[in-house]
Symmetry: C2
Subunit: 369 residues, 2 copies
C-alpha cells in the first residue's frame, strides 16, 4: 500500500527516506564481520575518565529513576566553567539533538538556511526534516568561509546559518578573531550556530570569548569527543537566555540519561583525563602526518581528533576507502568535490594506528600497481 | 531585552515557557532536602535486571562509541517478541521522544489533536510544541473514553488522537475488545496513538493483537516501567512500516545510548526479572488498597505500577500532597477535576511503602482535626 492513507505533514511526505550517517555497526553487518580498527566516526580511542566510570557504576542502582530533566548539577558546573548563568545553558542528548531543537525553533517550511557544501550532514538532516531549504556555499581552501556564509545568509534571507570551528570533515579551523568578526557581522534577527564540538583539540586562540548578551549566536559543545562519551549522548548549547528559553519550550525534557548526567559531571572534575586525551590525539595526528608523507600525500593541519589526508582525487579516495574496508579498517571521507580528494581518519589508539598504517601501505601499494 | 530580535517561528514565539513535569530533583531543591520516599514518578522500585547491570558494566569500556543508530540487535529481538518485522519498529529515547516524532510527522501548526482532559501531559506538550491545537474530551467514570475520543476526532477533523491503555494518571484500563473496536473505528487518513507504557502490569486480555498491516494505529512501549529503566531512556513504537518509515525520516538517529541498548537487550533475555517486578507491584498495590480502606478511601483498580486513591475532593488531595511533601514523601496527583479528587502513588519498595503509610496516617489525622 502507499502511504497516502497516513496523514503525514507535507514536509514529511515530501522527504526522501535518508540518514545522515550509516553507522559502523550497519557497515559491519553489510561486510559480514567486525572491523579490526574503528577509526571513522571521530569517537575517542582513549576512553572515558576513570572518575566517570566510577560515577556510572555508583549510579546503576538508580538507573530506574529518571534523570533530572533540568540537569541542574551539570548546568551549575558548566555555568561556572564557562562564566555564564545556568539559564544560558541547554542540555540535550548530544549536539545532533540540539541541532534538532535549534532548527525547529527557527525554521518553518520553506525557510532557507545557510551552511557549507560538505559540512556536517546532521545539521542539514534537521533542516530538511523541518522543511527548511539548505543553501550552501563552498569551502575556501578547505576551510568553511565565514564571509561567504554571511553573504549567502543576507542574499538568501536566511534566518539561520551554520559554521563549525574547528570544522568536520576537514579538521581545519579559524582563529578566534576571524570567528569573532563573523559573530559581530551577523545581522539582527538572524542566528548563527557555532558548533564547537572539537574545540578542546584546537590550539590556544581558537575560541572567541563567550558572550551570552548577544542573541545572534548559539554555541554547541559536547561530551562526545574530548570527554570520550559519544555513546552516552550528552551535549549542550550556550547562548542568550532568550534563546535557551526558546529551546526549553520545545526540547525533550527527559532525554539525557541519568548515567550520562553523572558521568559528564564526573568527567568535568577530571581535567587531567581530557588533557591526557588531547596529548594522545596529538601523537596520533603526528603518526598520520608521517604516514601520509611517506606516501607523498599531505595531511591537512587538524584542530580536531581526526586528520584529513589529501590523496589527490575523489576516485582515488573512494578506492582507498574500499580497500581499507576490505582490510577491516573503518574510516570515512568527505562527500563532495573538492573535499572528497581527502580521506578522514580518526585518531585511534596505538594499536588502531598500527592496523591502519599496515592496511594503508597495502592498499596504496595495490593502487599503484 | 525582548526576544523580538530572535527569528523564532510563530509557533515557538507564541508558546508559553512550560514543562510537562517538574522533576523530583527540582522539588527537592525547592524543599531543601531529599525525599525519604520517591514514589511519584511511576519509576520502578525494583531495579533493573541483574543481567542488564552486567551488560552495562561490560559495555562501559565501549561508552566512547556511538550506539548503533539502527538499534539493530534490539529491534531484531523485539520483532521476534512481538511477531512483527524489524522495519515495523522505531526505537527512541523513551516514549516522550517518540511522541515528539509522531506528532511532528502528523501535526502542522493549527492542526487539531484529540486526547483526554487530564491524560498524559507530555503528549500535549509535543502537540503544543509543534503548533497543534489540543482538543480534549472528559474521562468517563475515571477511564479514557474511546467513543468520545473518536467522535471528537471526527467532529474536530483531527488527524491524530491519543489513548493510553492502561491509563496514566488513573491506572484504569479497557479490555482488548474495547480497544480493538476503537482501532477498527479509526477512519482512514487518521492515526491513533495507543500508548501501552504500562501494559506489562495489566491483566490478561488487555492487549489487542498487534496488527502492523493497519496504518491507522501506532503503539508505544517502554523499558521505563516493568523493565525499570526510566533513567536509561529507551522506548519504541510498533506500527505499519510506512509509519515507521515516516518516523525514521525525522527522528534523531543517535539518541539512544550505547549502555541503554545493551541493557534493554539483556533485560529482554530476563523475563523472570519482569515477572518478579510485576509480582512485587501487585503486593504493593494490595498494601495501598488496604491503607486507603483503613482511612475510608477507595483505591481505584489499577493495571499499572501505581494506584490512584480517591480522597473525595481536589482541595483535600492537594492538602494531602502538601502534607506528604512536608513528611518527605513525593507523590503526584491528576491535574484536572474530577480526576483531582485522587492522589497518585507509585508502588514503592516495602521501605517506601512503610514510610508512605506512616506519613499518610499522620497527614490524614492532621487533616481530620
Amino acid at each position: 500500500m502507499s502511504d497516502a492513507h497516513i496523514p503525514f505533514t507535507g514536509v514529511v511526505r515530501a522527504l526522501p527516506a535518508s540518514t545522515p550517517f550509516v553507522g559502523p555497526e550497519a557497515l559491519e553487518r553489510t561486510r559480514g564481520g567486525p572491523f579490526a580498527a574503528r577509526i571513522g566516526a571521530n569517537e575517542s580511542a582513549f576512553g572515558i575518565s576513570p572518575k566517570a566510570v566510577a560515577a556510572i557504576e555508583r549510579e546503576i542502582s538508580r538507573a530506574s529513576w529518571y534523570g533530572d530533566p533540568e540537569s541542574y548539577d551539570l548546568r551549575e558546573e558548566l555555568a561556572a566553567k564557562h562564566g555564564v548563568a545556568m539559564d544560558e545553558i541547554c542540555m540535550s542528548a548530544g549536539i545532533d539533538n540540539l541541532f534538532g531543537v535549534i532548527v525547529r525553533m527557527i525554521v518553518s517550511p520553506g525557510v532557507p538556511v545557510v551552511t557549507s557544501l560538505g559540512a556536517y550532514p546532521t545539521f542539514n538532516y534537521q533542516v530538511n526534516g523541518n522543511g527548511g531549504v539548505v543553501k550552501t556555499v563552498p569551502y575556501h581552501r578547505d576551510k568553511e568561509d565565514p564571509e561567504a556564509l554571511l553573504d549567502a545568509a543576507r542574499s538568501e534571507g536566511a534566518p539561520l546559518l551554520f559554521i563549525a570551528n574547528p570544522d568536520n570533515p576537514m579538521g581545519t579551523w579559524h582563529d578566534a578573531g576571524t570567528i569573532q568578526r563573523m559573530i559581530d557581522a551577523v545581522p539582527p534577527g538572524r542566528l548563527l550556530v557555532l558548533d564547537e564540538a572539537y574545540i578542546e583539540f584546537a590550539p590556544e586562540g581558537t575560541e572567541p570569548p563567550i558572550d551570552t548578551s548577544n542573541p545572534r549566536v548559539i554555541r554547541t559543545r559536547t561530551f562526545s569527543k574530548a570527554h570520550g562519551m559519544a555513546g552516552m549522548r550528552i551535549g549542550y548549547a550556550i547562548g542568550h537566555r532568550d534563546l535557551i528559553t526558546g529551546m526549553n519550550k520545545i526540547r525533550n525534557q527527559f532525554e539525557v540519561t541519568r548515567l550520562s548526567q553523572v558521568a559528564a559531571l564526573a568527567s568535568l572534575s577530571d581535567p587531567n583525563h581530557v588533557a591526557h586525551v588531547i596529548a594522545e590525539v596529538e601523537k596520533g595526528k603526528e603518526d598520520y602526518r608521517a604516514l601520509a608523507e611517506k606516501h607523498g600525500f599531505i595531511a591537512l593541519p587538524s584542530a580536531t581528533n581526526f586528520v584529513a589526508i589529501d590523496v589527490g582525487h575523489g576516485d582515488k579516495a573512494r578506492a582507498i576507502l574500499k580497500g581499507l574496508d576490505a582490510e577491516g579498517v573503518f574510516i570515512r571521507m568527505p562527500g563532495v568535490p573538492v573535499l572528497d580528494r581527502c580521506i578522514r581518519v580518526t585518531v585511534g589508539a596505538p594499536d588502531d594506528r598500527a592496523i591502519f598504517a599496515k592496511a594503508f601501505d597495502k592498499v596504496i601499494a595495490a593502487l599503484d600497481v
